[in-house]
Amino acid sequence: MSSAAEHAASVAPVAAARRGFSLRQYLICLKGIIWRESLRFLHQRERFVSALVRPLVWLFIFAAGFRQVLGVSIIPPYETYILYSVYITPGLIAMIQLFNGMQSSLSMVYDREMGNMRTLLVSPLPRWFLLCSKLIAGTAVSLLQVYAFLAIAWFWEIEAPPLGYLTVLPALVLSGLMLGALGMLISSVIKQLENFAGVMNFVIFPMFFASSALYPLWRVQEGSPLLYYVCEFNPFTHAVELIRFALYTQIDWLSLAVVAGCTALFMIGAIFAYDPSRGFLARRGEPGGGA
């Protein structure tokens, strides 16, 4: 059978000349996907506002309220005593990315129901490339949100070293990819829009609260050794720590390794899940729309 296909290709020089895609075409495709994600994001103004308001509420209200309750001693990467609001800033950055990752997973479910995902998946470029592009686009959108948040926080006198704003970028890219890939993986298993509430309860809240986002882990350990271990095994903790250290121009190697490893793992999982022959898509049932 394959020889027949090869034969067909060899006798059709016109088709043969156009086989495959050039690097330039891959880049055009990637650029197009990022462009479309950004356009959509800018058009959904409520989404941008709520993406900003959420962490700001934590920063302005929660952190202010807890300022006196929780004292944070000097722990790396900090060199002095810090305010609680300074401590939770990296956690809130990671939260922005967590929400964004899950939200683009929501939009993928929505897209699939609406059929937009199909537009993406019938592109002739390889599917792994399409999914990675979508992931990169989602991460790019999360960067916009994070820097907008950092700008506002700066006026709130939460200032990292100037260089930190640059060194945090690669960390943000990596953590954004990890959380986006997780969202993509989840989007392939959840079936309907309403399940986003479930994602909130079973993914976002546990990940956020069982992490070092709101409290240093040594304090958690004093209270509950079990919770401490849960936090240590939570990849979100490592995303937070990676961002925290990077914001102060340092590298937390363990977190880097964990986040990089999880990114790879989640991405492979998502590509597998969206693979037409092996994935869950086909097994789950009818194509969108019913008939």
């Binding site: 296909a5 479309r36 058009h43 059929g115 002739p124 049932g285 009818e286 194509p287 729309g289």
Partner: protein
Amino acid sequence: MMHGMKAAGPQALSVESVSHSYGARRALDDVSFAVAPANFTVLLGLNGAGKSTLFALITRLYGTQRGRIRIFDHDVAREPGEALRILGVVFQSRTLDLDLSVMQNLMYHAALHGIDKRAARARGDEVLARIVLSDRARDKVRNLSGGQMRRVEIARALLHRPRLLVLDEPTVGLDIKSRADILGHVRQLIADEGIGVLWATHLIDEVADDDQVIVLHQGRVLADGPVAQVIADSKALDVRDAFTRLTGSGSPQAAGEAA
């Protein structure tokens, strides 16, 4: 083993012994047919006949479980890239970005096919002119009528100059005039560009006398051939009658609910 339907040149679309199941439920059962280039083939079937499953397989949303699907001799499973680049698709559900403009939707699609901006813009103008919507290029899709959205989707499907166009219930939910417009546009395409078209519908009145027709019922192909032949073979008076006889279903709901 399975050889192509006819020897002369590759078929635009060839579906060979395709079966597909969702768990225990069999949606397609040994389905085989072909669409020739420059030909309008109607895939006729009631809702639930397996049309959308077939489309999901042709567009490689799902992998083919059994059998083989080829687009101009490119096996969809083996060379998805080569197969998909010459395939234009209009899905049953709307797949445009409502918040983006018509042109932005077209540009996005072009990017997905690796077509650069300048070429994309030129082709965008060209396909919009063809569907007579050039003046709406900057409008948000949200502000178009249902029929106009469908025309944009067809324009989008043609942007990368496919040689095979497949449409899944493209006229669903449209009024009579929009339906006729769209049908006319697509038939004109065949005359102008010689592309092969697979048009899935449950509306019998969309079948013209010189079309090819495939009757799909409960996942099986019951008839396949030129309209006249299908009518003659089932000893029927017209297409509607032939469909009723073949499927054993009351015809009124097949065509009646339409417009």
